[in-house]
């Protein structure tokens, strides 16, 4: 579904992605983790070309992202993206946040789009908030709306870029539950997160990245029980028991 082949990217002189090779199969749930500044956000943002790559090959849903013939807008419609900062449209109601793209891109009627949005809102547990504005919602609610907005395009792939990092602790659970529900539908998921509980329970594979290099790829059991790379061991220690 997604295949990185020798992908490199630089920000000025900083080598943020260094020879990344990764294959994510259809229906797979992959958790990307690593220290801050490791390049994990950049990596996930290359998948829908929010960040273009400088070298190598990136194939998503059978299309080469570097090929000028690839219609990136069309491809992006098949890839849901959830941001750390939610990025809901503040001038639109929850319902309109969700229906905007389907109406404009999928050419369905407003009625159909609203019906579908209502179903999605029920799924993320926010049916009663359809007419609210983003600023009237809590962080966790906003993020769930953002997930519903991404799902409204019926994407084949969902990308989550630290979806719970901007949330108060008591709201993290509600968002993770929605994501877990998604994982069980067989959708292809890539999740950048520090929520190791989520990785352990939901991920098929954990990918550890640092300095733009993939250092470790393993099943969650393997990764947590017996991390091979020294940096991964250090990272897990930091994140699982930060006081030591």
């Amino acid at each position: 579904m997604i295949r990185f082949e020798g992908v490199h990217k630089w920000f000025k002189k900083l080598h943020v992605l260094n020879d990344v090779n990764l294959h994510v199969k259809q229906g797979e749930v992959v958790v990307l983790c690593g220290p801050s500044g490791s390049g994990k956000s950049t990596l996930i943002r290359t998948v829908n070309r929010l960040e273009p790559i400088d070298r190598g090959k990136l194939i998503v849903d059978g299309q080469n992202l570097s090929d000028p013939k690839t219609d990136i807008n069309k491809l992006r419609a098949e890839i849901g993206f959830v941001f750390q900062q939610f990025n809901l449209y503040p001038h639109l109601s929850v319902l309109k946040n969700i229906t905007l793209a389907p109406i404009k891109i999928r050419n369905i009627t407003r009625g159909e789009a609203e019906e579908q949005a209502t179903v999605l809102l029920e799924r993320v547990g926010l049916a009663e908030k359809r007419d609210a504005y983003p600023a009237q919602l809590s962080g966790g609610q906003q993020q769930r709306v953002a997930i519903a907005r991404a799902l409204a395009m019926k994407p084949k792939i969902m990308l989550f870029d630290e979806p719970t990092s901007a949330l108060d602790p008591e709201m993290i659970g509600e968002v993770l539950q929605v994501m877990q529900g998604l994982a069980h539908t067989g959708m292809t998921l890539i999740v950048v997160t520090h929520e190791m509980g989520f990785a352990r329970e939901v991920a098929d594979r954990v990918v550890f990245i640092d300095f733009g290099v993939i250092l470790e790829e393993a099943t969650p059991e393997e990764f947590f029980k017996n991390p091979k790379h020294e940096r991964a061991r250090l990272f897990l220690k930091e994140i699982l028991s930060p006081m030591h």
Binding site: N73, F81, F83, Y89, P90, K104, I105, Q136, A152
Partner: protein, 233 residues
């Protein structure tokens, strides 16, 4: 010999100040001032929007020439632009242009340049994440601009737009230089005819400009509050 101010000259010429020689002649006075400003506002809103969008284009062959034009216009006095239009416009279209349109075009070109800067700043003031969110759902860049960025940006721009409009109302007074009979021109006519009331006449004219401009500024403040973001609770 006259002592003190005699405002009867104002009342006696009120119709002239307000509507010029209308209905026996063309409309003039305050009505013409408002007419020029209103048409100028609509045209320079469109002009400013287009120029502003070109200014934020990712294509440098579009962005830099537009920025150059905008900065040239901003760097010359309005009076120069009016003279340009006065001599250039007829030459360009090959026939004489009505003075009203000379002024409207000059105001539009001049104000569009300023408006474009407001539009540019307004668009750049919207967080990058908004564009990214819109693009990530598959919207094309233009759709993201129209449905996500501009509605937010325009709302933030309203106060600056009204400021420009108020400036434009005052700028219409320069139209008297090419003989357009707007408020200031009418005032000089009445002054020339009555000879001895310049103080009264120009106090009155200043008051009229002030009231109109103050009204619009107040309106904008009210509008701003009505359209204020629904803030977090």
């Amino acid at each position: 010999m006259q002592t003190g101010l005699d405002f009867s000259v104002i009342w006696n010429n009120m119709a002239h100040f307000m509507i010029g020689r209308y209905p026996s002649g063309p409309i003039g006075g305050l009505m013409l001032t408002l007419y020029l400003a209103l048409i100028g506002l609509v045209l320079s809103f469109v002009g400013g929007l287009v120029l502003g969008l070109l200014c934020v284009s990712h294509n440098r062959f579009i962005r830099y020439p537009t920025l150059a034009v905008v900065n040239v216009i901003r760097g010359i006095p309005l009076l120069m632009v009016i003279f340009w239009m006065y001599f250039l416009l007829p030459a360009l279209i090959g026939r004489p242009t009505p003075e009203n349109w000379t002024i409207i075009m000059a105001l539009t070109v001049f104000t569009s340049a300023y408006m474009s800067q407001i539009v540019q700043a307004g668009i750049e003031g919207i967080p990058r994440g908004q564009t990214e969110a819109a693009l990530s759902t598959g919207l094309r860049p233009f759709q993201a601009m129209v449905h996500v960025i501009l509605p937010q940006a325009l709302r933030n721009m309203i106060p600056s737009f009204v400021n420009q409009f108020v400036s434009m109302i005052k700028d219409t007074s320069l139209a008297f230089i090419v003989g357009v009979s707007e408020l200031t021109h009418v005032a000089t006519q009445v002054n020339n005819r009555t000879m001895v009331y310049p103080t009264e006449i120009f106090i009155f004219i200043a008051a009229v400009y002030f009231i109109i401009c103050f009204a619009f500024t107040t309106l904008s403040r009210w509008l701003e509050q009505r359209l204020a973001w629904r803030r977090a609770i």
